[in-house]
Structure formats: structure tokens, C-alpha cells
Amino acid sequence: MRLVMKFGGTSLGDGGRIKNAAKLVKEYLENNEVIVVCSAMAGVTDTLFALIDKASRGRVRDVEITLSNLSDKHYRAVDDALNDELIKNDVKSIVKELIEDLRRAVLSILYLREATPRSRDYVVSFGERLSTRIMWGALTELGTTCKYLDGGDAGIITDSNFGEASPLMEISKLEVKRRVGSLLDRGITPIITGYIAVNEEGVITTLGRGGSDYTATILGYCLDADEVWLWSDVDGLMTADPRIVKDAKVLSTVSFNEAIEMAIFGAKGLHPRALEPAMKSNMKVRIRNTFNPSHQGTLISLKPEKSDMIVKAVLLVKDAAMISVRGASMVGRPGTVAKILETLARENINVMMISQSVSESSVSIVIKRDVLTKALNKLETALLGTGLVEDIESEDDVNVIAVVGEGMKGTPGVASRVFGAVAKKGINIRMIAQGSSELNISFVVREEDGYEAVRAIHEEYKL
């Protein structure tokens, strides 16, 4: 089989773990072709973002301390991951060079007191570039012929939307085939940086948070891989958050649509856009755990084996807030909702849920709690003076519960079972939304009822 294996930051959290990941790769190399994709070591990307922030505010001392911590962390990882002195020295000198480059980039931000999206992408790219070099050392030490490549060198080409770039899939396919394909043909295992790519002019871009998953599926698509394995620190997608529901189980199979719903609602270990390339080419995606490699994980595919599970998972989104806009003059007046959404979009506020009654006299939306004040301010300025709207109310103590499962489609009585289970616990439901795809029912409860509602539904469907 041709496998793309992506290792998340926690799975590469220190030298020992990198060594462990390399061993896993080595094991599967016996019978498969493997393309390795590495995230940055845990915490490094956050540190780099913080570094940019400090540099653009001119905090010289902070910058120096952070840089030296970063460099220590990676040298330590090299020491722990590698035994062979020759390889170790090799990797150390590569790491040294990279850290020097990073320092220069950060210093220029420091002098200018300004970080552009483009320079941010350049700086954060160092996390993945460092980790792949150490992985290269670890795999070389195990006797593997391998080569490290940055996302752009591997042929992943995106538009110039720095920070959240979109891949140009066909150009990338051509380039990746040429570059990575020829390595595979020669029996060389490619080790590729996740998250980073280049635009068509060759300038470094990044694919947005969690972009390493995306890198893995893009590579899988371009190289016609059989499966993409996303190694992280969880056994797979679960029926519920195990911290809420003690007997939550790992789902052995889910469909792409279910997985996307779950990813959007924050199921750990998955980037929602990452599944697009896999879906397009009908490639299987597996979520696996480097800390428990004997577990088979969750298999995501186009048409999983028939399951009699109506509901697959119950998810909870915490830290949400609800805004209700009311007014009798909104009735029969087109454009009110558009105005609300437009106002929020202009502030870059993402709307998670929206619901309107047929009478049109009120609209409720759910957003993240941390942007509530900003959203309220903007909405009040934009709407209250117009006579359209009488009242804008908000509640900052709500949770969203999402019930996900493809089996709900066309199954009558799902809503009554879901809401019945919640009602039995005496929990009041504030707002409901269901898309016509019937993949997902979402509703809002008060924060204090969140856990209880999840447990009630989990129990009702015996997940």
C-alpha cells in the first residue's frame, strides 16, 4: 500500500517520541511505501506566533529568551532522539542553520516593529522545518533511505492568502508527482513538512491551523495514496468527549460527512478542510494513536460498512454565546438577517448557528463567547437606530450540543428521542437548528446543563 503518515505535534513532543514515531514508520515500511508528514513539535507553533507578537512589539529581551528556549528544545530533542554521533552532528548543524535563519527573520520584525501576514507565515514555517530534520535523523539512524522536503519543495502550491492559503490542487498534483513521486520510485522515503507550502511565486504560505492534516490529504490525493493515517494522541473519533461521558467509545468507522460535522464541532484530531481532497479521490483516512499503536483507530471513508447506529456522536461546544434579535417590524422585511450576518462578517466573527421562526419576528444566532462584546457593540450600532429592531438580547452562558449521524437521515422520530431524553432530565432547550442534510441536529442549552444533556443523549442511544 501507499500510505501517507502524518504525525501530530504531541506525537513528536520530544526526542523520545520522535524516535518512537520513526520506529512506527520503519515498521510499516517493510510492506508499504510511506510518505511521512510532520507537524511542528508540540507547542512550537504557538511559541512562534508569540515570538512574532513579541518582536512586533519590540520586546528584545523576551525575543532573545524565547529564541534560546526554542533552540534548546530542539537541540535536546536531537540529543534524545539520536544515538549515532555522526548523524547527530549532521542534524545539529542543520538545526543550527535553521535557528540562525529564524533569528534573522525575527530580528527584522523586531527592527520594523511590524509583522505582515507573509512574514508571519515565513516565521511559523520553522516549526515544521525543524521537526522534519530531526525525524530525518531518526529515520536515517534506523537505516532508512530518506529525504526531508519543505512543503513547497514537495510541490504543494497554494494561492497567496497567507495564513490560510488554499491549495491549487491540479498544479500541486503535477508538481508533487514529479518531485515526491520520483523519490518514491527510487525507494527513498520522503519526509515532508506539514502545514507549509508556497504560492506560485515560491513564497512560503501556510494552510491554517491544523494544516498538517491538510498537507497529508493533499499529498495523498496528488500521489494516489491508498490511505492517509493521521497519527495523534487520541485513539480516534469518539461517541462523546470522554471527560464528559465516562463510557464514551471510539468509533471504528464513520463517513466523511459525519467526520466533517464532528471536526467542525471540535472533535479532537481533525481539520475539517483536510477531508476534502480525500473525499474527492475516495481515499480512506485513518485516525490513530502513537501512544497506543495497537489500537486500530477510526476509519473515515466514503461509504463505511452499514451501521445500525442512528446517532454516531454527541458533541459539546463550550464557551458559546447566543444573541437574539427581536422586532415586529422585521416581519416581511427582506434583508434583516443579511444585515446581521454582514455586520458580523465585517468584524470577522464566525456564526456557528442561526435560527429564525417562520413569523420572522426574531432571529437567534450563536457565536463564540470571546467575541460576544464586539458582536453586540457592532449589532447595536448597526441595527438599533434603524427602527427595524426593537431589542437585542444576549446570553453568555450557553453550550451548543450537536448530535451527529448519517443514520438520522430519513429516520422519523430522531428529534423526539433526542429532545425527549433531554426533557426527562428537566433541561430546557433554548434554540434548535437542523440542516436539510439531516446529518446533524444542534441545539442550545444553558451552560450548567451542557454535560447532563450530552450524557442523556449518549445514554438514550446507548452509544
Binding site: D159, L168, M169, E170, I171, K173, L174, E175, E200, E201
Partner: protein
Amino acid sequence: MIKTKKRNGSISLHAEYGRPGVNVLDLLDELDIDVLVDATPTNLIDGEPSYTYIRKALVSRLHVVTVNKGPLALALPALKELAQHKDVILKFSGSVGGGLPVIEFARQCARGDKIVKIEGVLNGTTNYIISRMEDGLEFDVALREAKEKGYAEKDPSLDIKGLDTAAKLVILANEILGIKATLINVSIKGIEKLSRKEINEAIRDGETYRLIGRVDSGLEVKPTRIRREDPLAIRYSMNAVSFTTMNSGVHVILGRGAGGRETATAILRDLIEIKKKLIEVKI
């Protein structure tokens, strides 16, 4: 200009405008131009140097007209994506059927309908050879004659092995059916093994052979037996393409394929098309 090309083999040797040995990529940076017209020879191995030229031109936001099948057969989905991303126009009507407006014709066929199958005799050289074999010549003799008449290249293997037909088929599949295929997706069989015996047997049954490229669910090039009255059973260096539509039956376009004058006409047609689109945008 034409005199220089004929006498010296390259217009770069023109006394006044020529720049011998100039690098095309540098030229693209240097000149203030709107369109790149690429008439470099076809290379079906890696599409170079044309691929690099076209790509550079698109990235620099130039419109591109090419008659080179190499980069198109190997990378058409990628080049189209890049052109769309950069909001410029990529035209290549001269790459299939030379002066024959095959792609335009297909667009008309597909208006309000859907094309489900494309079949075509897309290579004049092989069709000439098969036609002459029908007349009683051996393969080698027919090939030599085709060379003498200037139909075949010095190295005719691209034609005979079916690669030229396959390249054109890829272009049609992408442009007309929206199938993101490249040359590796085509199953190809040339006419090198086609014997006079087979042709004679076919003729006895009122049939004949043509090297036909076909795309419906997959892409295939192979010598195919068809009825002699089939519109695709054209003779000598002609091209013919038939489009099977879902509702309005089969439409066939035929005429002389490649040739310097025909290809030049196709380039002109593409340039006019680009100009037209640019004017539309302005309004």
C-alpha cells in the same frame, strides 16, 4: 521575417529584430506584452521547454495561446487551474485538428445538450498511411511516401505509436468533457502492428481500420474496425471528430488537420477570441 526563418531556420537571426540566443524566460520579464504565443515543437516526455514558458507567462498574468500538445497533454488540468487562478485566458484550439475548429464545434454541440462520447481520427499521418495500405501499399512504403509528401515528421514514431492522437484526445477530454486526465490515463495502441492482411480482411467485410481515439468513461487510442461508410472512415491526411450527444444524436466535423497555414489560422482565431473577451470585460 518569414524569409529569415526559411533561410536561417530561426527568426532570432533576423538582422533588425532578431536576438540570437536570447532566453525566453528573461524576455517574458523584460517585455511589456499581453499575450504569449507558443509554437514550440511538441515534446511528450516532459512538455519542456513549453511547459515552463506557459507557466511563467500565466504566473506573470499573460494570456497564452499555444499549439504545443506536449504541456497540454501532460498538464492541462494544472495549467487551466493556474490560468483561472490568475484570471487570464489560455487558448489552444490549434493543438487539436489544426485549422479545424473542433473545440468550438463541440461547444455548440453541447449547448443545451450533453456530450457523452468523443471519437476521432485525429492524426493525418497515420490516416494517410492506412489509406495507402488500403490502396495496396506495404506499411513501410506508405510511410516513406508520407514522409516524401511532407505529412510525416523525420521521426514519425509519435504519430505511428498513437501518442499524438492520445495527446489530442487528452485535450478534448479535458476541454469538452471536463475530465481531469493526462497522458498517463490513456490506453494507447499504435498502428505499427497493423498488417495489410488485417486491412484486406476488413475491406472484404465492407469495413476498414482507422486509428481512433475514443473517450467516454475512459480514454483509449487503438486501430479500430469501422464500416466503410462511417463518417470517420475518411481518407488520406484528413481529420474527423464525432461527438455523440445525449439527445441530439451524433455530430461530425471533418476537414484537413494540421499544416502550417491551418495552424496559423487557429492561432489567429484564438487571439481574436482573447481580444473579444477583453473587450467584453471592459464594458
